[in-house]
Symmetry: C2
Subunit: 422 residues, 2 copies
């Protein structure tokens, strides 16, 4: 019944830890202490052995997550398989399988068996898929689904335990443009209202902890009340829920269950830094997993850009784990191209944050690229790019050794001293 | 011989000012004072009447600029005409005509005659285009070109007057990965080294001021030593040049010549805020016109995303005017699609900054969009998007009134209270 947190508290350095920090720059002792304190998590379900593990949290590189999955409307396994390959090719650390519908569990098993990603799910989705009316579900079924997926080897669960009856009471005095935009949160809200009962994930949180402890599943405490409009951001509802998440975090840590906190959503850029500080304080330093945030509501079709902007600002101010957003957000299910665009935007955000945070190995990539630019070495410039395939395609239309944009105005050539001597 | 700055100092509210702030939220008195102090510019050459004018600087909306132009390698007028139309359709405020080659002046005249954009140029490019060897150019020719373009009606010039012999001496003690990446700066550097003379734009700055005063051309003081690699950012060379630009700003203001300052470049995200503060201090509050900055060197093919991220952080911290970057940056001349992608990314950055800075009218757009989302009004969601054409194309593959991504998991529907009553 030992989790990575238990081992860290005991001072034991596990295989998972070893693999997780082999490419990191954090000191081993500091790392162990932060895992023990809950400031770093290593999502690593005991029932699935992987060749790669990743650490998420303070002092480690910022990581990214890719959402995908089949659904009743789109039960296209082949498409989702290709998305997994794209994520793998771009060295993404984590995928969340947000599948719903009856085929969901097959798809989940496929990922768990075939990939080394951290794998996260939202168990309530599958419960909802089995029923025409979520409000008729017995609260036990939520727990049973969590147990089933824990046994299968899922590394982290989004658990929407932070929306309580007390929180809901605040709706009255705190109007919103968009009340609830979290799918899991809205399902639980509907259940709570219809049954006039407390949130089952909150009420049975101790049972969930037992399961997560047994299999070492990291809990990602979902933000049911994350703002879905910039005008709703940082309001009483969001902050009240964050207080609840902080209390739940302490309960989990008492059982050595690893915890991350999920964050906004939509948010004006000036509020992001404060939100990171508040989350870290209220949730006692638990790693922060943000969705975007999108810095405006109007970027539909380009939400990967708005989201990556917000994600970079979040990461500069303490966010540890970035959930990608694709250009399809708010409009349709993402195509393969959308998935690639989303991944690249968030790779750029995470990398930009990592070099800004003073990490050395990521910065070496920028230095290599700039040396290639100085040397006008196009082959290297292409291969050092975040997406060499696109860079090559763009470059292939030109043959000169200077960029055709500048021609004889090439600054690199004009500022070379040997040019002056001639 | 009165410029907008002269009028502001006299307390006269001009037609250009009237048009410039008709959609802004700044108080008229405050506006006039800031124009008088140089904190806001209204690029408005007297020789060209336009129907639209724009203010750039403290207390006004963040604006964007689009670079385009023909060149010897690509003398495709038709393509560049289409780029102008794209910029117009997206309500871009400013274009810089970076044309080089012998057709450059025809293209410039075409823009000046047919569009209401603020139009900027870099006169040294055209001088360089006329000669096989820039080092053989008589310094008078630079001034003559500036005069000619001022008479034609160009609203602002990038003048690389900040790179001086004293600055160049610092190269020895301050190594860089990429010495000079500014095209104009590198041409002047080459000229200075070959002729063993001072920068002609620095030496004859008083003559340039006379011309700019006469026609009311705003000077955009170019940053010849802007970092072209994150590892070079905020170094002695960049800061030394900024000191020079601050001194030149004061000289210009003495003659009532309006001034903007150009900024980086490539820069790690954590350095951006400090750069904005330093620029505003050293350049006495003059508006800051930034190129990106790109938050990493490795995003070739996606530099519009890296640049828009940096631009947003810059704008949150004082940058007033954002020069767009396209996905083609560092790789090829931008296609029409590249231009559109660049514009949209920077529109999102500017808009995100404007709502973060507390402006009300821009925020109304976000509120309208979120109300449409609440109402599941797809037609409005599409039309309120930053690029309705793309949003419509994405949306058109679906017909249900909920997004097919969620189906019965639709949070908007599940959190509606009427749903619960049923």
């Amino acid at each position: 019944m030992k989790t990575q947190m238990t081992y860290a508290k005991e001072g034991t350095f596990t295989r998972e830890m070893e693999l997780a920090i082999q490419n990191e720059e954090i000191d081993k002792k500091e790392f162990l202490q932060k895992v023990a304190e809950g400031k770093i998590v290593i999502p690593a379900n005991k029932n699935r052995k992987r060749d790669k593990y990743f650490a998420i949290g303070d002092g480690t590189y910022v990581k990214i997550n890719v959402n995908l999955g089949v659904s009743e409307a789109c039960p296209n396994f082949d498409l989702e398989h290709q998305k997994l390959e794209i994520a793998k090719n771009f060295d993404v650390e984590s995928v969340m399988d947000l599948s719903s519908g009856l085929d969901a569990s097959n798809f989940r098993k496929y990922i768990l068996q075939n990939y080394d990603f951290i794998v996260g799910t939202v168990p309530v989705y599958q419960v909802a898929s089995r029923h025409d009316d979520i409000t008729k579900v017995d609260s036990k079924e939520f727990i049973e689904e969590i147990e089933k997926q824990a046994e299968e080897g899922v590394d982290f669960f989004t658990i929407h335990a932070g929306i309580t009856r007390r929180t809901i009471e605040r709706f009255e005095k705190n109007e919103r443009l968009l009340k609830i935009v979290s799918r899991g949160g809205s399902l639980l809200y509907k259940w709570m209202m219809a049954n006039e009962k407390e949130n089952p994930l909150y009420e049975h949180f101790d049972e969930i902890l037992k399961i997560c402890k047994k299999h070492d599943v990291t809990i990602s405490l979902g933000d049911s009340l994350r703002p879905g409009a910039v005008a709703d951001a940082t309001d009483a509802l969001q902050i009240e829920e964050l207080i609840n998440l902080g209390e739940l975090t302490k309960m989990a840590w008492k059982e050595d269950v690893q915890v991350m906190i999920e964050g906004p959503g939509h948010m004006r850029a000036n509020e992001i830094a404060a939100n990171m500080v508040i989350q870290k304080r209220l949730c006692h330093g638990a790693p922060f997993y943000v969705l975007g945030p999108l810095t405006t509501d109007i970027a539909a079709g380009y939400d990967h850009i708005s989201g990556a902007m917000g994600a970079l600002i979040a990461a500069l101010n303490g966010a540890d784990f970035l959930c990608y957003v694709t250009p399809a957000e708010h409009l349709r299910l993402p195509s393969l191209e959308d998935v690639k665009e989303g991944i690249v935007a968030f790779k750029i955000a995470a990398h930009s944050a990592n070099i800004a945070k003073g990490f050395k190995k990521p910065l070496e990539k920028d230095i290599e690229m700039s040396v290639a630019r100085r040397d006008l070495d196009w082959e290297k410039m292409v291969s050092f790019s975040v997406d060499p395939e696109k860079a090559r395609e763009y470059r292939s239309s030109f043959s000169s050794d200077t960029c055709s944009m500048c021609g004889k105005l090439c600054a690199v050539k004009n500022s070379r001293d040997e040019v002056i001597v001639l």
